[in-house]
């Protein structure tokens, strides 16, 4: 569905086969674990069985003596990393803490924390060696819940940590790494105006990104001291930066080659294995591959935060939301850096509310350090806010979509961070949901309910650089540095084909390593089709300029006499002189200099994303199982470059959210041991758990992108948690304030057993 006139593009909006597709359906594509080098050794990591302990002694002598073992390394082999914070697009990372997370320095802060690593002839021998490493621990009491961790008497993860806030660092040590506060208007006065006030508390558990490909990295040093790393990452340059800091070697000494990547969702933006593989490779003088098993992925890589939220909102009898007071407590895991600030800024963004106060707390606990996860921070905040909004609408007897429409943010509304929103499409999403076939089909039957919710995500800009090479046969090579996690090669090649007026089959995109293309920030923040797309457009326009000059020289006319339209160069002073891009390339590249252009940009003019979703559920009153009967995702994408992959992002985000809503959680015992670190017990949705996911693509073009792109990937995971909770409420009459809404929790709450 299109809500605004769409320019008549030739390539954009079509559904060509993706350029990397054939290799991915035939098993030829090389993912992280598929790298195999001559003389390669296999590594394994020794991990802590305890959630909180001081490391008193590490004895690797028995491991090192095992036949087939070539090297053992510990944190003692790492140089001290700087205490510096780097922005990685989907979150920030303190390099010293990152080093401590890669190999524990003096304390282990969560079960699964890496302590040492072995390189051996094969993974089995490496695993045996890991078991022979002896670690003596002084056990410390673990703190596993953010509210417990905030208490003054709580065990401290780091006695030097002081709470950061706008008032400056606090006096005493604390597990609260940061306190953020955003106030607008006068909240108390706002609540005084309200005729209806709803206040509730909510809680969610840690959940994992759940990419199917475990982390894998291979490192090799050349004889002259150059390090090459192959890894499945969302950002080859981010890996390079982190290795530079952790290993204390110059940027010029490291080349990172990104393999294909089997999912990331934000979780493959920080390094775990790469520096360790580099240490082992250096020590042995041979290539070393490290790869995680699934339980390591669960226990030692970034989940996203468990959250405690309190939301109070007030509205007038006429249906105007006048005040909101939100408190968000986010678990950071072992080191600071939860996405609570983004949560604070997204929580109320869909609405124009005059008086708001949002407090956010970033709290360390003895669990794995969280990493970015698709719209980091936003889904749990929306789970809380969107249920309170739903309850307000119900109390006021207003349709929940119309209530949202009456309060929607639009162009000019004060947005997150205080700046007014540019052109946004939330209103259009709500209207499309209201007029959707789904919303206009009555839902009948017992124990069934329909819920709606809406969500916001900023989308990202950041740095991108591409190189475009025109080949002698008129084809075009597009060299990019944004790793392709779900079809971005296609989306970028299409934007180049559109810019040049050539066919999509004339453009060959490839993802290059860090020595072969300019700097690119991570594939994250829904930024690649937007920002790398701008770089592609810029490079494409430079190709057009050069091609025009070359044509002018070829035809002996001034360049100002030449027009470039729809891939055709035409001389305005002599209509006989006309050639397609390909024909001209064949002419001028035979003799002249090579034709190469680059586009290097900082993605400015980011267009925010909104998604509104409708869920129909049936709750089995005997088992408590929630079945999704029908599901619709409405989303403003700006412009859909490749609609099939846009739909795929919307569907995939929604289903990830369905898993978060209904099944997924980290289950811990009181000693901080995860009880469900496998795909059997950490229950992600299967094909049997979900219906077809209907999509309604809304296109309110981003005026600051050459083709109107906003970004697609993240916002669809924001509304599902609340949409399903609201549906379960309509089906059962009971509000669901905790996730996951597992059969057990549904039974407990609907039967009043909790």
């Amino acid at each position: 569905m299109t809500t605004e006139h769409k320019a008549p593009y030739r390539v954009i909006g079509t559904r060509p086969l993706r350029p990397d597709g054939a290799d991915k359906v035939t098993g030829k594509a090389q993912f992280g674990a598929d790298i195999r080098l001559s003389g390669m050794l296999y590594g394994r990591i020794k991990r802590s069985p305890h959630a909180h302990a001081r490391i008193k002694r590490v004895d690797v002598s028995r491991a090192a003596a095992l036949p087939g073992v070539h090297a053992v390394v510990t944190a003692a082999d790492l140089p001290g990393a700087e205490d510096r914070v780097a922005e990685l697009g989907e979150g920030s990372v303190n390099m010293r803490e990152l080093s401590g997370n890669v190999l524990a320095h003096d304390k282990v802060l969560y079960r699964g924390h890496a302590i040492a690593a072995v390189a051996a002839v094969d993974a089995h021998v490496a695993g045996q060696a890991v078991d022979l490493i002896e670690v003596e621990y002084e056990l410390l009491p673990p703190v596993l819940d953010a509210r417990d961790a905030m208490r003054p008497e709580a065990p401290l993860l780091d006695k030097n940590r002081r709470t950061r806030s706008m008032a400056g660092p606090a006096d005493g040590p604390s597990n609260v790494a940061a306190h953020y506060q955003f106030i607008s208007g006068d909240p108390e006065e706002g609540f005084a105006e309200a005729d209806v006030v709803v206040e509730r508390e909510f809680a969610t558990r840690m959940v994992h990104q759940g990419y199917i490909e475990p982390h894998a990295a291979t490192a090799s040093w050349s004889s002259d001291g150059q390090l090459t790393v192959w890894t499945c990452t969302q950002g080859a340059f981010a890996v390079r930066d982190q290795c530079v800091a952790i290993l204390d070697i110059p940027v010029s000494k490291i080349r990172v080659i990104p393999t294909e990547i089997g999912g990331g969702f934000g979780g493959k933006t920080i390094v775990y294995l790469e520096p360790v593989a580099a240490l082992l490779a250096k020590r042995t003088g041979r290539p070393v591959k490290l790869q995680m098993d699934r339980s390591e992925v669960f226990e030692a890589t970034g989940p996203t935060s468990g959250v405690n939220a309190r939301v109070r909102m007030g509205a007038t009898r006429e249906g105007r939301i006048v005040a909101a007071d939100v408190e968000l407590i986010y678990e950071a895991g072992a080191y600071p850096g939860s996405p609570v600030m983004a949560a604070c800024m997204t929580a109320l963004a869909p609405y124009e509310i005059a008086n708001t106060k949002v407090d956010g707390y970033d709290v360390v606990v003895n669990k794995p350090k969280v990493a970015a996860y698709r719209a980091p921070g936003a889904p749990a905040a929306a789970f809380a806010v969107e249920q309170v909004v739903d309850e307000l609408a119900e109390k006021l007897d207003i349709d929940p979509l119309r209530f949202r429409l009456a309060n929607t943010s639009r162009e000019g509304t004060r947005g997150p961070g205080g700046r007014p929103f540019p052109r946004i499409g939330h209103e259009e999403c709500l209207e499309a949901a209201l007029s959707s076939p789904h919303y206009n089909t009555p839902l009948e039957g017992p124990s069934r309910g329909r819920g709606v919710a809406t969500g916001f995500w900023f989308n990202g800009g950041m740095r991108s650089s591409v190189t475009v090479i025109v080949n002698a046969d008129g084809s075009v090579s597009l060299v990019e540095g944004s790793t392709d996690i779900g079809g971005s090669r296609a989306a970028l090649a299409m934007q180049l084909a559109e810019t040049l007026g050539v066919g999509i089959d004339d453009v060959r995109p490839s993802v290059a390593d860090t020595d072969a293309v300019g700097y690119n920030d991570v594939t994250g923040g829904s930024r690649v089709t937007f920002a790398t797309g701008i770089a592609v457009h810029e490079a494409g326009m430079e190709v057009r300029r050069q091609m025009t000059e070359r044509a002018a020289a070829h035809w002996h006319v001034p360049a100002s006499d030449i027009t470039y339209e729809d891939g055709r160069l035409t001389c305005t002073s002599d209509a006989q002189k006309s050639a397609t891009f390909r024909e001209m390339a064949l002419q001028v590249l035979r003799t002249g200099e090579p034709l190469v252009a680059t586009g290097s940009i900082v993605g400015r003019g980011v267009g925010a994303a909104f998604s509104t979703q409708i869920a129909d559920v049936e709750v089995d009153p005997e088992t408590g199982k929630v079945q999704i009967l029908r599901y619709t995702v409405v989303q403003d994408v700006g412009t859909a470059i490749h609609p099939a992959y846009v739909e795929g992002q919307m569907q995939g985000g929604a289903v990830q959210g369905i898993g978060w809503a209904l099944n997924e959680e980290y289950c811990y015992d009181d000693q901080g041991r995860m009880a469900n670190a496998s795909f059997l017990d950490y229950r992600m949705p299967t094909a049997l758990d979900v219906p077809m996911i209907d999509t309604i693509i809304v296109e309110v073009p981003n005026p600051r992108h050459p083709f109107g792109v906003r970004g697609v990937g993240e916002v669809p995971i924001v509304p599902p948690l609340a949409a399903i909770a609201n549906a379960v409420y309509r089906a059962t009459g009971v509000r669901q304030t905790q996730l996951p809404m597992s059969p057990r929790r549904i039974l407990e709450t609907t039967l009043g057993l909790s």
Binding site: V25, T26, G27, I212, I485, E647, G652, G653, S678, M684
Partner: protein, 167 residues
């Protein structure tokens, strides 16, 4: 002492011999020993289906089959599916229908779908969903995967019918 066993199997139509340790899985031997890295390791305990191969006509998780159990068996992996440069209809349907995003689960899904369609050429959507419940995909939400399998079943039946008409 020799810790290795010699195993003979027919893999993608070729008689293949390899040495393996008793503790090695078929998946490990395919990937590390034979260089057939199209079968993926997502969990190594039979929960994700990324390592699915077809053994003597039955779908198996190759991470749960010991390599020594492959003795005398016929094994088909994703590498053996396209013939003479032409994609199998299921592969083609996945590509055409945008039924992959990152692509790591794709070989397993395609082998799983093949095992289904080899035995049941006309499955319903419900049947496809139930059959594919042993394969995890985290990117697509399954919608386009299920559609691709249903589309390829139609195409394979059409092809079979027209072949049947000619012969």
């Amino acid at each position: 002492m020799s810790t290795r066993t010699q195993v003979g199997a027919r893999i993608n139509g070729e008689d293949t011999e390899f040495l393996c340790e008793p503790r090695q899985s078929l998946l490990e031997v395919l990937r590390e020993g034979l260089g057939l890295t199209g079968s993926k390791e997502g969990c190594n305990n039979g929960n994700c289906g990324a390592c699915n191969v077809i053994m003597d006509g039955s779908l198996v998780n190759s991470c749960l089959v010991l390599a020594v159990e492959a003795e005398g068996r016929e094994i088909q992996t994703i590498e053996g599916l396209a013939s003479g440069g032409a994609l199998h209809p299921i592969q083609h349907a996945f590509l055409e229908g945008a039924a992959l995003q990152c692509g790591i689960c794709t070989p397993g899904f395609i082998m799983s779908a093949k095992a289904l369609l080899d035995h049941e050429p006309e499955p319903t959507e419900e049947r496809v969903r139930r059959w594919l419940a042993g394969n995890l995909c985290r990117c697509t939400g399954y919608d386009k995967i299920v559609r691709a399998v249903l589309d390829s079943s139609v195409q394979m039946r059409d092809t079979a019918r027209s072949d049947g008409g000619r012969s």
